[in-house]
Amino acid sequence: METGTSRVKRGMAEMQKGGVIMDVMSAEQAKIAEAAGATAVMALERVPSDIRAAGGVARMANPELVEDVMKVVSIPVMAKARIGHYVEAKVLESLGVDYIDESEVLTPADEVYHIDKSLFTIPFVCGAKDLGEALRRIQEGASMLRTKGEPGTGNIVEAVRHMRIITGQVRRIQNLSKDELFHEAKVLGVNYDLLLNVHTSGRLPVVNFAAGGVATPSDAALMMHLGADGVFVGSGIFKSDNPEKFARAIVEATTHYEDYALIARVSKDLGEAMKGIDISKLHSSERMQDRGL
């Protein structure tokens, strides 16, 4: 009997496919998310849009909040650790969290190194905006990926960009010859065998979700259309007028992302979605996607 194998860790992410993982800030919100059909919840003290507004240093959530959320739902509970913060991640593992997000939404603890995720029994998800970042995170032991997008903006443009870049790069890698692959591995800063795996399979070796800026059911469906395996929704749900209804609508739109009449139906009477931010108005220091390369 073996725990924490790569198959067990990656397999857990496979079971989330086609699902919606929702940010929650309390046990009560976690229950709403579960009742709406979320496949997992991300327990955190502040959603990205609040982190953006509050400024200062954003850290791992209080263990009490994480435990409160774990107590009230039967679906998996995820939590965020700062990039490079080995101890925050070990603390979350000791609490029994099901998945850790080593996340650029929090203030990085290390501007050079990520956590060696292979040292953990529980799996990690990491953000990536291109194939190089994606494969480097997998090399470090990530079992699941997500686009970085631009969290807390309610603007889907960056998540779309990252998904387009990654799928385009995977298609290009498929067509490279072996000598070109050696060079490409050097350019991307990744292991040759891992790149060869992408070349032969035509896909990333782990599940890749969309995240960062999903604000409406149509946004979620668009990301599925572009090849996402599922969707993370952060600020979108509990910053909307009617979180319960909104959450259910996002779940349905993700499952039936090609049924446009259904998406139209679930999008009715949702009230106001979160107010979005034009990415070009962000100062470079406010761009979370540039953290953790």
Partner: protein
């Protein structure tokens, strides 16, 4: 044999791949009408609360009960096993209530307790590599249920006529012998019955 995989949420592509390795044809089932076109249905792993909700929403509960009631084979893995059960421990409402068994969810604990192991399964000559992810257990079965494998004293594979269930994920390995068994169940059904 055309085997459908319920595609509301979960590991759909992996099951389709295993079905094809086992010599069948796999299709994703998103609408109730598709049940008329398949020789067997797999309910995959995923989150049972999510799959259960979407099954109710899109009227799959009565449709699958009727489909199985006619003798068509149905195979549930992990969340799929939970969905098939007549009785669930804890607060969750049972879903399809097809298999005469009581199931405990997340019976081994949380993700850090998830594991893989070699497992003896009745009717399969050498052990199967079984991947258990936040897996459920069958705590008790009725007289019509045949126990196919036991892990540490607990039931993890069972069959009741045309219904098959496993706590673990045969679709996450390259070993497709459980899918072969399921395709044989569909073939046997095809020989005794004309029409789905």
């Amino acid at each position: 044999m055309i085997i459908g995989v319920l595609a509301l949420q979960g590991a759909v592509a992996e099951h389709i791949r295993s079905i094809e390795l086992a010599g069948g044809q796999g299709v994703a089932v998103k609408k109730v009408e598709q049940l008329a076109e398949i020789d067997g249905l797999i309910i995959p792993g995923g989150e049972s609360t999510t799959i259960g909700k979407l099954m109710r929403k899109y009227e799959f509960i009565d449709a699958i009960r009727e489909y199985a009631g006619k003798g068509n084979p149905v195979f549930g893995t992990c969340a799929g096993l939970i969905v098939l059960a007549e009785r669930l421990e804890g607060a969750e409402e049972p879903h399809l209530r097809l298999m005469d068994m009581t199931v405990a969810r997340n019976a081994f604990g949380r993700q850090r307790e998830s594991f893989e192991t070699d497992l003896d399964v009745k009717g399969i000559d050498t052990p199967l590599r079984a991947v258990f992810i936040r897996a459920p257990l069958i705590k008790e079965v009725g007289a019509s249920v045949e126990v196919l494998s036991v892990y540490q004293g607990e039931i993890v594979t069972a069959r009741q006529g045309n219904l098959l269930a496993s706590s673990y994920h045969p679709e996450l390995t390259d070993d497709y012998r459980l899918h072969e068994l399921f395709i044989r169940m569909a073939q046997e059904r095809g020989q005794t019955h004309v029409g789905r």
